[in-house]
């Protein structure tokens, strides 16, 4: 089992991969909002998942990533991998 991906780390990586306009505030319950609602499209999620996969040494299937519609869903996919 590799290191656990924390919500803070996921948001940091999302910000680095796909940019941010100040909306990614963890205090604002962003973990359960949809990526679409947060302004990130499927390519942004794919890019973020690719980066997580490299940094944390986990293999994540692109098709599984495509089903993660919120940051929390992506977190559980990564941490279960």
């Amino acid at each position: 089992m590799s290191a656990t991906l924390t919500p803070d780390d996921l948001l940091r990586i999302l910000r680095e991969c796909a940019g941010d306009d100040g909306t990614l505030d963890i205090a604002q319950d962003v973990l359960d909002r949809t990526f679409t609602d947060l302004g990130y499209d499927s390519v942004a999620v794919l890019e973020t998942a690719g980066r997580v996969s490299r940094e944390y040494g986990v293999a994540i299937d692109d098709d599984v990533v495509a089903e993660a519609d919120t940051p929390r869903a992506l977190l559980s996919i990564v941490n279960a991998a």
């Binding site: 991969c17 796909a18 940019g19 941010d20 306009d21 302004g39 990130y40 390519v43 942004a44 794919l46 890019e47 690719g50 996969s53 490299r54």
Partner: protein, 413 residues
Amino acid sequence: MTAACVVTGLGVAAPNGVGTEEFWTASLTARRGIAPVERFDASSYPSSLAGEITDFDPAHLLTGRLLPQTDRMTRMALVAADWAVTDAGVEPGLLDEFDMGVITASSSGGFEFGHGELEKLAARGSEYVSAYQAFAWFYAVNTGQISIRHGMRGPSGVIVADQAGGLEALAQARRQIRRGTGLVVSGGIDGSLCPWGWVAHQASGRLTTSADPARAFLPFDEDADGHVPGEGGAILVVEDADSARARGNERVYGEIAGHASTFDPPPGSGRPPALERAIRLALDDAGVEAREVDVVFADAAGEPGPDAAEADALRSVFGPFGVPVAAPKALTGRLYSGGGPLDVVAALLTLRDGLLPPAPGIAVRAEYEIDLVVDAPRAVDAATALVLARGHHGFNSALVVRRPAPTRREAHR
């Protein structure tokens, strides 16, 4: 009667001026945008000069979301499109989203972005290549990003035809407007000034090897030996005249009155190049005689063969020294698909201000018999301008712009 197709907004990013009025002032005062490449070390290549834009800061002009997914030329296109839309006074929600299209031109897509991803691929492996590469390199990316940013979902597309592409995009915008679309954001912003793009430019064999910025790109000159590549261009808002009036627009830069494109015969066919035919067909399309054309913005290849061919076409249509010819691109280098739209902006501002920008320091070969505006701006009372652009391998495009008809209010003054 087909409604007129008019230009209501301009957005410019040029090597000698970022912003419409900045570019226009630079052109009239002969400020050169050609210099040794700064972005990377080009000193070991045969050609080392470029028309680089050095005062464009995307981080202050675009949101953080857009930066990771955009090539430099896309960032410039987005900013120029913002300026053009603002200039036209088009606010979100003013028009139906399906009544606004985006049609731009591109010659090579997002080369610099692709260069970065190729580096990652070679040095670190495929898992390091950005997912954004999927579209950031693509010819149609500027059209797509502008469409998303402004919520424009009407007829859209991209034209790829080297330097002719920018005029072709405007012509396609006009076609869509004639088919019933109210507004099209059009034109082109191009650029591939990165090491990978630079190698591709060298391989074309059409660049000058001069290292003197003042004597490097010399269209129609005795010493012409190739062009300097540049980056930038212009984005224009093109509208149906009635629809623009209906939304309360008051300022029109000019009408896109005519256009034609032709393709050269294959080398060795013995048939003449087709630029002259493009000019004649565009004038026919606009319903104007050659003598009614007040100014011509030349393609100005800066190579002896193509320069002679363009001079031949101008002489055949207009007679020796028959019309003033401008080549403001002598100050910027050739901007590929951005070049034609930038010349259209210069033509529209010539109609507005009555001044033709110079191509300083050029001594035109006597046998060309063209009246090139060289050392200082020339005052002209111009109502009709012809803009020419040619793309490598045979594309010819000719576009006629005309001074707007006076509005009812002006006519009653």
